[in-house]
């Protein structure tokens, strides 16, 4: 008898971070469009345990669907199991939990994203030069996968480029800046810098500027946070790869709805990454939304723009 009243879907990110704002925006918009009550519940810090607590709590609340950005694979197996038993549809977005009973993963496949990034970097470097890399936390699974993909692409497409350093920014912008400054001292011959995580470009920008190398050194990296977009506008940064966060949110609703309607979901949907450059920096978000918003509802097949992976289930 819950069919007659609104379905209730909840988005559970890893923690508090502006990165998730577009995810939830997509989630909300889709909810609004398909008449579904949506909610955003973030753990206080990026920890499995707190994420478990949030989910535990949602199970008590008997929500209809949960979309999780998993802080940890194994760590969530238990709760996701419980939730499924309680008849709640669970999917993961942004960060997967393959070992769990989660029905589907919607998000960037890091290795693929890394490969795309590497390809772009290779193209821009023209198979020559010295590349410096920044990474936020050497222990981070996702970033290590990104790096793997990136390195593979470089080896294939620009074998003569030397990746000469890979420094830990500890995920902090000021540290990224310090490391960049030091790297520029250590390697005056560097021709390019690539940042595997969000804080790298915002940190590298002031370092390049104070070294008067802004625009002279190729700068690219992941995540379209405001600082980075600003840097792209002023030309210090040449490109960044935006994860299709809005789309992740939107598709999460679509897939959960499908699941509730008893549909079989694909194990994985790679939302792919979007290349942001000076040309599309002001428009890419709108495009991303448009692209996402055609999914679900009456929409039919998937367009080619869609990244690797299987098509999202569509519903009547």
């Amino acid at each position: 008898n819950r069919t007659d009243n609104k379905q209730h879907f909840v988005m559970v990110p890893k923690g508090v971070n502006p990165y998730y704002d577009p995810c939830y925006e997509g989630f909300k918009d889709a909810g609004a469009k398909f008449g579904i009550e949506t909610e955003f519940r973030a753990p206080q810090d990026f920890s499995v345990s707190e994420q478990q607590e949030v989910i535990e709590d949602l199970i008590q609340k008997h929500v209809d669907g949960i979309a999780i950005s998993a802080n940890d694979d194994q760590g969530l197996v238990g709760v996701i199991d419980e939730a499924t038993k309680a008849g709640i549809k669970v999917i993961t977005f942004d960060a997967p939990a393959p070992s769990s009973k989660a029905l589907c993963y919607i998000g960037t496949v890091n290795d693929a994203a890394g490969y795309t990034a590497g390809t772009e970097m290779a193209k821009r470097m023209g198979d020559k030069g010295v590349l410096l890399m920044l990474q936020g936390g050497m222990g981070s699974q996702n970033l290590n996968e990104r790096y793997a993909g990136f390195e593979r692409a470089m080896k294939e497409k620009a074998p003569h480029v030397t990746i000469i350093a890979r420094e830990d920014t500890q995920g902090k912008i000021p540290v990224a800046q310090e490391k960049t400054e030091q790297l520029l001292q250590a390697h005056p011959d560097a021709t390019a810098i690539f940042g595997l995580s969000g804080e790298c470009i915002p940190g590298a920008v002031p370092a390049l500027k104070s070294a008067n190398k802004a625009g002279k050194i190729l700068l690219g990296g992941f995540d379209d946070i405001p600082d980075t977009l600003a840097a792209i506008r002023d030309g210090t940064c040449q490109f960044c790869l935006a994860q299709k966060t809005y789309k992740m949110g939107w598709l999460s609703v679509v897939e959960l709805q499908a699941a509730c309607a008893g549909k079989e979901l694909p194990k994985q949907i790679d939302t792919g990454v979007l290349l942001v450059t000076k040309d599309n920096v002001d428009t890419y978000m709108a495009h991303m939304k448009e692209e996402a918003q055609q999914w679900g509802g009456e929409a039919a097949t998937m367009p080619a723009t869609m990244g690797a992976g299987t098509a999202p289930a569509t519903q009547k």
């Binding site: 607590e53 535990e56 194994q74 197996v77 981070s140 290590n144």
Partner: protein, 346 residues
């Protein structure tokens, strides 16, 4: 004129052993907290929630008891978090190498003992400030983890192990909680009923006088660091069971929580003051706050702030409660006069 009442000493001594005034303050804070949360959110007391909360508290508290030994001697151990991470990782590596469970456990505990022995030796026998050497060990242990497998988690932990330390429970109590209870009892006995424990407190009270009493201060201190890191190893093992994998980042920043738990529970960083019970209460307060905030749907952006405020509030309640009548008046007066110029005066 030898006027001392025999029953009089029953009072203090008994109290000191069981629930010294020191603890009452934080205990009140804890009760208030639990009361408030469970009224606002009855689910707080649901067995499901208590289960996960108690497990999380236990993981911190085990490490907290370890560092508590060190703090009693007026030392400090910042390597707690990294030690938890490394020992757990070693346990995982042992399994990955196909070692049977007992071996894996011993490997972790041995690794803990080694970390503690290094800390202890450098502090007690060379004389380096605990803060420095343990800060160094913090870095060393953590980066050791990274250098081994570039930060990958170790998967494929045997089910037999997970059955005991992961899902494992006894009368609905998770294994970390059971471990904590046993550890707490053992520590309480050691600290209050053995010569060793008495000496730990003595060193915190007056190291020179202790030495002159013919006690090998160096050895006692050395041992506290070993004990601390062994507790970390226990926590490390429990974390592997909890996460069902050995993660490279396990235990990051745990030292701060562990020390905070001890201090909130009335342990003096100057040494010689504190009880196991206090540490448990301290750890519980922190766990309850974190858990409660999530249940209460406090905006994630505000949670940290609330935690900060509650920590401070608990500490203030504690101080006021432990102050004797007239000091209490004075404190209240000062808090009241905070905006008046009186605030400046002594």
């Amino acid at each position: 004129m030898t006027s001392f009442a025999y029953d009089a000493d029953a009072g203090p001594s008994l109290a000191r052993r069981v629930l010294r005034q020191r603890e009452v303050g934080v205990f009140i804070a804890l009760v208030v907290l639990v009361g408030a949360i469970s009224i606002a959110r009855p689910h707080f007391l649901a067995s499901g929630n208590l289960f996960i909360m108690s497990r999380q508290i236990a993981l911190t508290a085990i490490a907290a008891i370890g560092v508590f030994f060190v703090i009693l001697t007026a030392g400090i151990d910042l390597s707690v978090g990294s030690a938890v991470g490394l020992t757990g990782y070693v346990c995982g590596l042992a399994f990955a190498a196909g070692a049977p469970m007992p071996v894996a456990l011993l490997a972790a505990l041995g690794c803990g003992a080694l970390i503690g022995a290094i800390n202890g030796f450098v502090v007690a026998y060379i004389g380096v400030t605990p803060f420095i050497i343990t800060l160094g060990m913090l870095e060393i242990c953590r980066s050791t983890i990274y250098t081994i497998r570039h930060g990958d988690s170790i998967r494929g932990i045997p089910a037999s192990f997970l059955k005991i330390f992961g899902s494992g429970e006894f009368l609905g109590i998770s294994s970390p909680v059971i471990a904590l209870i046993l550890l707490a009892i053992a520590s309480h006995v050691v600290l209050n009923y053995t010569a060793y424990g008495r000496r730990v407190y003595a060193i915190g009270g007056n190291e020179e006088a202790t030495k002159l009493s013919g006690i090998n201060v160096r050895r006692v201190k050395f041992m506290t660091y070993v004990l601390c890191s062994v507790c970390c190893a226990i926590a490390g093992i429990m974390y592997v069971g909890y996460g069902t994998e050995a993660h490279a980042d396990t235990g990051k920043d745990l030292e701060l929580d562990a020390i905070a738990a001890a201090v909130i529970g009335g342990t003096s960083l100057m040494g010689g003051q504190g009880t196991v019970l206090g540490v448990l209460i301290g750890a519980t307060i922190m766990g309850v706050v974190k858990n409660g905030l999530v249940l209460l749907d406090v905006s994630s952006y505000w949670q940290q702030m609330v935690i900060g405020i509650i920590i401070v509030a608990a500490a203030i309640i504690d101080v006021v409660q432990n102050a004797n009548a007239d000091n209490r008046k004075a404190i209240i007066r000062r808090i009241a006069g905070i905006f008046g110029r009186r605030a400046g005066a002594s």
